[in-house]
């Protein structure tokens, strides 16, 4: 065993212990003593800790109605779910393995765990399994925080996924469907009158023939911005709304609010395609919300007065530190950076 290997093993043991549920002051002191023994110890520990934290990103693979809590009712499948065959993410390169894994693990595995927990989990997996077999073409695509990805579909359409986005696609001979489960995407839809292109998100539905538009889902609200052509938006049982170029629709259940963007406004809204955020005199509060979609490190405006400051300009969406520095140098705000949060206030 090489020396590095040995130190790595010890560092990993410390990290695993620290990650557990029985961490005590005495053990913390022992860890600190071990870290202080040599720089090699410290850097090995830092390195593993960073990797372990990065692995938190895996949580985006959690199935939409995940059994994080065992309280999943046995008769779970709702009408909304069953109308979304791709939910089980059959061909998905990422989460299909997770589903497979759950199945493998459940079938022969050591099912010694509490049966109450198992019941909830089984209900979920059976539900997934059925839908998995029913329609195997729903394909999952996901981006993590701060990531952006371009997706070329079989029909020639192109999708750009913004930060923290999860969607599924199903392109068949007679229809094209996309389920936007979370996040934001820009659609450049190839013209094909024989095969409507439908975007489903919660109880909203967007129908298009061939056009460019952007959709952002935030809970049960949906924002649709049309860059080119026309789309039809319907929410729940409400009558469909026809949207044309530069229309900006905010749909909440049963209500669609419509505004019209200027050419510059349209541009500004689409800057995320280049990884930029462009603000035109919006409040710092609103700007922080935007940045927080793109970064693990969250921007926290700690007093209301600072939150009302108006911000304009173009920024790198992933560079929240740079933005925070600007708040300090440009606005004289008090900025305190810690591991996963940047606190901004008017005064120290």
């Amino acid at each position: 065993m090489t020396q590095a290997c040995d130190i790595d093993a010890q560092a990993a043991d410390w990290l695993a212990a620290r990650d557990g549920d029985d961490w005590t002051v005495a053990r913390q002191q022992a860890l600190e003593a071990w870290l202080a023994e040599s720089t090699a110890h410290r850097v090995a520990y830092l390195r593993l800790k960073a990797a372990w934290q990065r692995a938190d990103r895996l949580q985006v693979l959690r199935p939409a109605q995940a059994p994080a809590a065992p309280a999943v009712p046995v008769s779970e499948p709702s009408s909304e779910l069953s109308s979304e065959p791709g939910r089980a993410t059959a061909n998905a390169p990422l989460s299909a393995r997770w589903v497979d894994w759950l199945r493998n693990w459940l079938s022969p595995g050591p099912v010694a765990a509490g049966m109450a927990v198992m019941a909830g989990l089984l209900a979920l997996v059976v539900g997934l399994g059925l839908r998995l077999d029913a329609a195997s073409s729903g394909q999952l695509h996901a981006t993590g925080v701060g990531e952006r990805a371009v997706l070329a579909l079989r029909d020639g359409s192109r999708l750009t996924l913004n930060t923290s986005t999860r969607l599924r696609t199903e392109i068949s001979a007679d229809q094209r469907r996309v389920w936007l489960d979370a996040g934001e995407a820009y659609f450049e839809v190839a013209h094909d009158p024989g095969r409507p292109f439908v975007v489903l998100s919660g109880n909203h539905r967007i129908t298009v023939l061939g056009t460019k538009f952007s959709v952002h889902r935030d809970g049960d609200q949906l924002r649709v911005l049309v860059v080119e052509g026309r789309v039809e938006l319907s929410s729940g049982a409400a009558a469909a709304t026809l949207l044309t170029k530069a229309d900006n629709a905010l749909a909440s259940p049963g209500l669609v609010r419509l505004s019209h963007e200027s050419a510059q406004g349209l541009d500004a809204n689409m800057r995320w395609l280049e990884g930029k955020l462009q603000f035109d005199g919006i409040t710092l509060e609103a700007a922080a919300r935007q940045f927080n979609r793109y970064n693990q490190k969250q921007l926290l405006i700690t007093d209301a007065e600072a939150g009302r400051i108006r911000i304009g300009g173009t920024f790198d969406a992933n560079n929240v530190e740079q933005f925070a520095r600007l708040l300090h140098t440009g606005f004289g705000l008090n900025v305190v950076v810690s591991n996963d949060v940047i606190r901004v206030a008017l005064k120290p």
């Binding site: 557990g20 549920d21 090699a40 895996l58 693979l61 894994w101 927990v117």
Partner: protein, 189 residues
């Protein structure tokens, strides 16, 4: 700066370029089983240096620390042929190593993690998946799998090392092989 602050800076700025460092070490050092040792030594030296002053460009700094370490090691080996020595004097980072984006964009972080997770041994993978995808605590993982917390802890220890290695090697495994081949070629010239 306290050790804790320095540690955070180190993670953000220095550990971030581990793929480039590993590529550099593999390209310039023949004994591939010594590369992990070298990596650790580079980090220890770099950290101690950073206690005194922070470098402007972490990537150039790390590669320069690595270069000096390789020279030291080669000298100590005392079996240095003229050609190896010449080779080591020419240890300048290539454009490839100095451009982080090119390789990081090749595979997204999520894909890297997923591949690393899939490569873990079965039990270890179950534990890491429940801990990181489901967000269960170690105790909850133990209950779910019907194993002891000690076992979970051991699997976490194993898993974190494999993940760290995969993240560092990720997407560069092929280019590392190519680099070794090209380093070997250069030596034969």
């Amino acid at each position: 700066m306290t050790d804790e602050e320095l540690g955070r800076w180190f993670v953000d700025q220095v550990l971030r370029v581990e793929p480039q460092l590993m590529r550099f070490l593999r390209r310039n050092w023949r004994e591939s089983d010594e590369v992990d040792d070298l990596r650790q030594e580079v980090y220890a030296r770099a950290f101690d240096h950073c206690r005194r002053s922070l470098p402007e460009s972490p990537l150039a700094f790390v590669l320069s620390v690595a270069k000096h370490l390789l020279i030291d090691r080669a000298r100590r080996k005392q079996i240095v042929s003229i050609e190896t020595y010449a080779d080591i004097e020419a240890l300048e980072p290539t454009v490839d190593e100095l451009s982080p984006e090119r390789h990081q964009s090749a595979r997204s972080e999520l894909q890297l993690l997923q591949l690393a997770l899939d490569a873990l041994p079965e039990r270890c993978r179950q534990v890491v998946a429940l801990r990181k995808i489901e967000g269960l605590s170690q105790r909850e993982v133990a209950a779910r799998l019907g194993i002891t917390e000690d076992t979970v802890e051991r699997q976490v220890s194993k898993g974190v090392r494999a993940l760290a290695k995969a993240l560092a090697d990720g997407g560069t495994a092929i280019s590392a092989e190519q680099a070794q081949a090209s380093a070997a070629n250069r030596r034969q010239l």
